[in-house]
């Protein structure tokens, strides 16, 4: 167990205790005088229309999926950057191959208009 993370742990515990504590304390001390309008969900002062369970367009999915893929690609760059000075050209070449393969995916997605919102 890396002991240097003890501070982080204490910070986490304090943060959790504070956020839960604030909610619990608020429950005890705040005034509660509800009436029908006050209980309505707030939509910029308008009367709410329709269901809150709205179906999203499938377009969101493809953006999220592409984001995950290129996020993972970026993840591989971190350890590579850290050891790059030790491995040198060899590491450079293999990362170029890796990125070129993913770049093909990028071109493909781009030409298929995956980034176009219509």
């Amino acid at each position: 167990m890396p002991s240097e993370y003890l501070g982080v742990l204490i910070f986490l515990m304090v943060a959790t205790a504070f956020s839960i504590g604030a909610l619990v304390l608020g429950e005890f001390f705040r005034l509660r005088r509800p009436y029908a309008e006050k209980l309505m969900p707030y939509e910029s002062g308008n009367i709410p229309v329709g269901e809150p369970h709205m179906r999203f367009s499938v377009k969101f999915y493809i953006i999220a999926m592409l984001f995950v893929v290129f996020d993972v690609e970026a993840v591989f760059l971190y350890p590579w950057a850290v050891v790059f000075d030790k491995i040198g050209l060899y590491a450079f070449v293999e990362m170029v191959i890796f990125i070129v393969i993913l770049f093909v995916g990028y071109i493909y997605a781009w030409r298929k208009e995956a980034f176009v919102w219509d």
Binding site: P2, H53, R55, V68, V69, V72, G105
Partner: protein, 170 residues
């Protein structure tokens, strides 16, 4: 003692949170419990001195993949989904299989013998830092799997575009 306590906490929470994820009726709630689950898994990685993996767990899983899950959940017709009592049928059979598996694995775990200790001990990793140790292995010894990973990501891009963006008919 402190170590066992930490591990026990994480292991226990991971099991409880996983159960919450799979038993919630509302998929949005499941995803939220999963967020907490991912943080606990990250904690477990940190506990194992795998700092880089812990960071990735938070950035990729809690950050990116969870957003993807949430989008997928929002693609569903939630009102219909919420009215379903359960998705998979015959849970006694599932319970029986899982219980049998649990008993088998637990019984066998008693026979665990420590494998050989490699060159990457906790001290070695601590002096080199985890990210460096990982990078050095990944880009020298495990270069071949690393390049295959890029092909898997490429197929993921193609698959996503084919299944969600392409015209229905040619």
């Amino acid at each position: 003692m402190l170590q066992q306590l930490f591990f026990g906490y994480y292991a226990f929470m991971i099991i409880i949170l996983s159960l919450l994820v799979v038993t919630r009726g509302n998929p949005v709630h499941s995803v939220m419990w999963m967020l907490l689950l991912f943080f606990h898994i990250a904690g477990l990685y940190l506990f194992l001195n795998a700092e880089f993996i812990a960071a990735i767990q938070v950035i990729v899983y809690a950050g990116a993949i969870l957003v993807l899950f949430l989008f997928v959940v929002l693609l569903l017709n939630l009102r219909e989904e919420l009215s379903l009592r359960q998705i998979a049928g015959s849970w006694p059979a599932a319970f029986f299989i899982v219980a049998a598996l649990f008993i088998t694995v637990t019984a066998a775990l008693g026979a665990y013998v420590q494998g050989p200790v490699g060159s990457y001990s906790i001290e070695a990793i601590r002096s080199e830092t985890h990210t460096k140790a990982l990078g050095r292995l990944l880009y020298t010894e495990y270069l071949f799997p690393f390049e295959i990973a890029s092909l898997i990501l490429l197929v993921a891009v193609v698959g996503a575009v084919v299944l969600a963006k392409r015209k229905l008919r040619s």
